[in-house]
Symmetry: C3
Subunit: 154 residues, 3 copies
């Protein structure tokens, strides 16, 4: 149990959450290493060992493309999102990599005030030190039914 | 990144949340400095630079008045609230002031068991050290449609 | 305010949450001392001093029985749960015991994707050091109407 490392990782997760919730999508790729991977999958697929992700992006260039298409699609952006994180557990791999598992829920607030839990699940991360960037972020969603096409990244 | 400061601020936020959830409203003004300000606004107004808050109180005397009118209005208080906090980011200003930004969601539980997300958003705080009191707490709500008149403070 | 103790307790709560959310129910009794108690009650009962809990188990043997009956009843287990924790406050009792109070919410995700807040409330714990096990965990639920018979532990 390293207090400093725990807080530094939680700090990374917090900055990531605020960037998305504040719609600073252009900052999103910077949270990853140059070749970092981002994958959304479902708990069901994960358990069955099904490799097919809901979404997969490898490297900052692909993440930037993803942002560009979101910007293109979401001209009016009527909804807001609020990320809640909890129960962050660390597992140091070596001096330069730490694994993190964390619970998350994302609240979506529509323009008419309608508020729902848009997504929930676990973040499974590989984080490189001391850069504090995601080498891999796997978003394992509890629900198998959700629409990420028009949504911000999770 | 100062581990001690991070935990002390999270401790303040936690005590604030528990005071409200336990309906200890009379303790609420003590979380603020003597002239501390409390403001509820919406993300929409905040982004447009509209100064009109949903609610504004300056100084403990006004906060106490607010509690008194809540006590007067809510005689039966059938509902409960549960504050969830997440993603606390600090920005030290100087030796005696730290800024904090945090995500929150508030769950409301009605007497018949009906449970909804009552509010979500960000706390934008100015906290004075070493007293650990809010000099300013701005509650930026994601939704523009909500009823705080009969609700506990956020 | 002891930073190390705060993080160690949050670590315990986090491991507990992940064990339940990952359906590792067989690990659940190990979070308690040999004679540890687990009690679910409602905020209403707690305030009125009513001793009747919704659920009560004393000692690991009873906790194991509870898991066995859950396993027997929930053959298909179509639902998932996600625990969110927040606002952990500590109160050291002596060198070998610390009290903890924490807010929680549990999200339930049905197989058809339907997602609701299944439960919310407070964990009131007595934790023994340095084993970091629950000597007592009281789950005070905000709602008085809920179905825990077929649910995982909270």
């Amino acid at each position: 149990m390293e207090p400093q490392l725990q807080l530094v990782v939680e700090h990374l997760h917090a900055r990531y959450a605020h960037a998305l919730d504040a719609d600073r999508l252009e900052d999103w790729p910077q949270f990853f290493t140059e070749n970092g991977t981002y994958r959304i999958t479902t708990a069901e697929n994960e358990e069955r060992g099904l490799p097919l992700p809901v979404l997969y992006a490898e490297g900052r260039a692909m993440l930037r493309d993803r942002v560009a298409s979101l910007r293109h699609a979401n001209i009016y952006e009527p909804q807001r999102y609020r990320h809640m994180l909890s129960a962050v557990l660390l597992e140091p791999v070596d001096a330069s990599v730490v694994r993190s598992i964390a619970n998350f829920s994302v609240i979506r607030i529509m323009q008419d005030g309608d508020t729902v839990i848009f997504a929930s699940g676990r973040y499974l991360d590989r984080i490189v030190l001391p850069e504090m960037q995601y080498e891999e972020r796997v978003v394992v969603c509890d629900s198998r039914r959700f629409d990420t096409l028009l949504a911000i990244p999770l």
